[in-house]
Symmetry: D2
């Protein structure tokens, strides 16, 4: 399995991503080489391309699925104990270190960076998804993709859904019969919608734009949608949500938009005693006007979440394979070969694509 | 038990409270007449005296303890099944209605107002604690105060502690060995300090002022205090808390100050994955600059709480009687007869008193 | 609304139930008179007919739905705040007392017996469902049945489902993608099956008999069934469940059979770290051989549950109306007029009926 | 650091343990060599000496504390990020694999056996605590023992306490003011007693024997003790517990005795809605008569627990260092040099020792 792998490389803010060629390393006994199928373009990557202090060179691509091209002799089983062999499709992460404080208390390991965030300036170089081949390194965490599951569906399991599942657990789950408002109609919002439905929500209302995203939300199972182009102000949206919920407001709100006014808006519409999951405020845009008395007086339970432990990746794979019936494959709207990596990033940035995937071996 | 009862009455914003005389009603079979021992002056009452739209006339006083002066024939047992008799000290609330949505899902009943919030312009008139006698009405919720428990201690159980206990449950409890920061050194902050200690916190740090309150905090068991007079800015306090916590920040923060900048400050100092209880932001002072990305990026679990179901009153009584060893009686710093009700309110407002109590039969 | 109401009365163990006639009381302001539509025959009632120490006379029938025939002037709203009027269909319970220890800590009230368990030897007499009219008494807890919901569906919401929901909450819910085994194919087992499915279980396997019940389970959505007539021993059933679960056993088991060997069998098949809800062991049949080391070594979380607070009745109604898609109406297999009340009990006892309902006004 | 290490070796059931000499391996970069201070004799080891199918040779000793004698160049920090150096006292475990199902869902890793359970017939040989030196192997999980903490106290943190903490979390914690019964007065029972006290239990009652163990329990803080020599039957003990709890029974029971009748006894005395942690039934002694209707009718939440994730080791260390005030050092009643390892095992087996420790370098 000698040879080289082409990969799309981030070489610094403000510069186009470059396709470069890297040597493929020998596969160590506890490792494997993956021939990439699909890697999603994520907002985090796009943000990095505008951030002068973002480290480089890096091969991005942290939401990945590929085929085992070369399997080390000691990497015999996936996390569920199923035997691994060359030709299997897999999703994968670096195993957590197991020795740090976060590993110990059950948080996401912050010692070992995930594939797609590892500098590409030293061996084994190819550790991001926007590459023909990806090298897993020692003793990785691997889930074999069941044969009956499409590649697209498996990929969607690791886009947003696991993070949302982690977060929903933090706010005590969703109870059968509850009403849920999702703020945001991008990939994370779609994950929130799908998870809320399979947990037994009575009704899920998605707030977002543009029209084609709201239509996709309806195809996924949204009971109602509220367009921010039609209801332009927070006040108008709050009033609309109240109309749709008998004046009570929703028991659960999930913020997936990242919009500056979203948290205040969510707190204003949520029912007394409601639960509010804030996934979308990952990027630091500074202070916002928020009325903290809403939290106390409405006795709101509120949680942030960033990433997830691998438990939720496993659970998300299971959910997507056997419980979620929505046609989530449709959320992957754009496919790009390596040579068009800059076009791929652009399709994400201008909201043209819901999910854009790189297919490095296309 | 005919006769009359003097009571301090709120007759409208901006006017002094007045001592008036009311007829004492006949005691119905499921009711009782209480001869008041102590009723605390609460910030809610003080706020009302400045609120032009606050309803009146009202006999305030919702944190109460008194003696059963006349017991209806059908009110035989307290909530723990202990027999009631005249001469028993008791704490008491109206029984929840049991029929509304909040009662049904386990929230505090909002149909039946608690004693101290009931208009005094119609029979039975005397349903607030700032009165010589208080009439319980039909089938009230009553806890007999154990003989070995001082009146002051029992009263402290229903000041802040039960609300804080309810809130701490909402954020998943405090685990043995955790570090807790309490923002605010008033009665609620002292309740948070006491509860955190008996739940096994390793260290409780109280942020507040003035010096005598911080000294009281230390007498209650605070491991460290941070004076806002010494550390005047949020930045200085955050830095101080980091010094005191090996640079990690606390696992738990409890906001009991009501200060405008407190929530942002708490979110800034809390440890990754921390839990934040916001008790103190009951009054609506409008929007504040808060950075919502702190919630997402630090994966904070945050909860408001307002009042509590009676479960926590029962638990707070039990805790104060048998588990909390701190000298909480000392927190009652001022006692006033009915005639000095306006002085009592003033002692609360100018922060001279930690807890001021009315003793209507003094 | 004067007149009389015929009712089926339990007059003592070993004697046939008798149809008797009772005077209909005047409706007090906070009460209502219900014209009964359907009341289910429950195993508890059937057991009582064989119990020499069961109190009598009693009009049984505690799973009820009826129409408001006469509404007191002060009973204006249901628990969700919806206005009530004569002609509305409703489900109903006595309001909890709100004053006892169980009410206070959030358990089911044990002070006020539910309709169907109240002696019929004094006014208002008619407080069980096997009666043409049922008198609610003061300030009852009422849920209006939505117009779009069939009477059968609403009745099924209060048969088993609410108790199972309460229990599932106690074991920490069911997570999306989990495998659930339900022991027992009677009405409670069907409730467990339905709830597990809408909470996102990947797969629900029902163990039971006879064949027509297992077929009903499949119509409700069971992914697999295991007949105890085909797999006659616990060992055979455990082996079969292991085959169906890749040798892991289920994450969750729900015991709804009441069979003597069921708990040991469930503990034997459950996965390491699994959760086990024991609903079915309400009747005391004495000691059973159970290996307690299964609990420790497999780190099983196990819970009993008996009845439920009204929160779960509300939630069950909501779930049945808007989330559960299974044709639960089919579970009501037999309808009887009052005159055939003894035949109704017989149809329950000989397992001919899945759910038998009395229709007192038929 | 060349040389040899003497160790006590289990060479098969029915044979005395033997002191043998092993070569000390070179320390790899990510590893360390520990000079043992104390290793506790655990019931698990004693059981193994009677079990003909127990694997051997093994150097037992899995509850350990020692001094870092030789530190690999890459093992720089402990789990809390504190720098490690030679001469530091430490507790330690193999890092979890991070790749298996149990690691992924947050259970204890079952792939990597802990020190004290690793065969001694191949390099690096010395991986149990009953040895002068213990070799940690690659990238172990290490906690530095704070200087102010005694060696005895640190050792006690990893005897029982962490498992009990894990288990108490599973039953929803202990709430301030609750009454707890601990069944068993051995080391695990003492851990349960200590943890219950620091979590705010109002009262902890220990059931056990003989008298000196019950006296130790009282020194640790037990509010009451019940001797099984005085109250010889389950019935007598249940009656005694009812007397001590106003006829209600305890809210929480923790089974740490392993006695055959204990679970039935605990279920019989527990309060309605109580929580029952079963730690002590690790050894399989076969079926016992247990009445499952107690679980359903009393709505008991019950959990087993076996071992714990390392989170609870960390938390237990913290608790023992800063929250638990009981003189837990006294629980270590016997110290033995390597040459007396068989006497050490005997002192455990005949209940003469509460905790017996090996001090291999004495």
């Amino acid at each position: 399995m000698a040879g080289t792998s082409k990969a799309g490389v981030f070489v610094g803010a403000g510069k186009p991503l470059e396709v470069q060629e890297f040597p493929i390393p020998e596969v160590a006994p506890g490792s494997a080489l993956i021939k990439m199928e699909m890697a999603a373009v994520c907002g985090t990557d796009v943000h990095a391309t505008h951030n002068p202090s973002a480290p480089h060179p890096i091969i991005f691509g942290h939401e990945n699925i590929g085929v085992i091209a070369d399997l080390g002799s000691e990497l015999k089983y996936d996390v569920l104990g199923r035997p691994l062999k060359e030709g299997d499709r897999a999703i994968f992460r670096p195993a957590p270190c197991g020795r740090c404080y976060n590993c110990t208390i059950g948080n996401m390991c912050r010692v070992r960076p995930t594939y797609g965030l590892i500098p590409a300036d030293k061996p084994p170089y190819i550790q991001g998804g926007f590459s023909q081949y990806l090298y897993l390194g020692d003793d990785p965490w691997v889930v074999r993709v069941p044969d009956e599951m499409s590649t697209e569906r498996a990929l969607m399991a690791v886009i947003g859904n696991h993070t949302v599942m982690n977060g929903i657990d933090k706010i005590g789950g969703i109870s059968v019969g509850e009403t849920v408002v999702v703020q945001g109609s991008g990939p994370i919002g779609m994950g929130a919608l799908n998870q809320a439905k399979v947990m037994g929500a009575k009704r899920v209302i998605v707030i977002g734009a543009p029209a084609d995203r709201l239509q996709l939300a309806e195809e996924m199972g949204a009971d109602d949608t509220v367009s921010i182009l039609e209801y332009e102000t927070p006040e108008a949206r709050i009033e609309r949500i109240m109309e749709l919920t008998d004046g009570n407001g929703p028991e659960v709100v999930i913020e997936c938009s990242g919009a500056g006014s979203a948290v205040q808006e969510g707190l204003s519409m949520i029912r007394f005693g409601g639960r509010y999951l804030v996934v979308g405020q990952l990027t630091d845009y500074g202070d916002r006007p928020i009325n903290p008395s809403l939290i106390t007086r409405k006795a709101v339970l509120l949680s942030g979440v960033v990433g997830s432990t691998y438990k939720y990746i496993l659970r998300s794979m299971e959910a997507m394979n056997s419980v979620v019936k929505a046609p989530v494959e449709k959320l992957i709207t754009h496919h790009f070969p390596l040579a068009e990596i800059n076009e791929a990033f652009e399709s994400h940035e201008n909201l043209e694509a819901m999910v854009a995937v790189m297919r490095p071996n296309l």
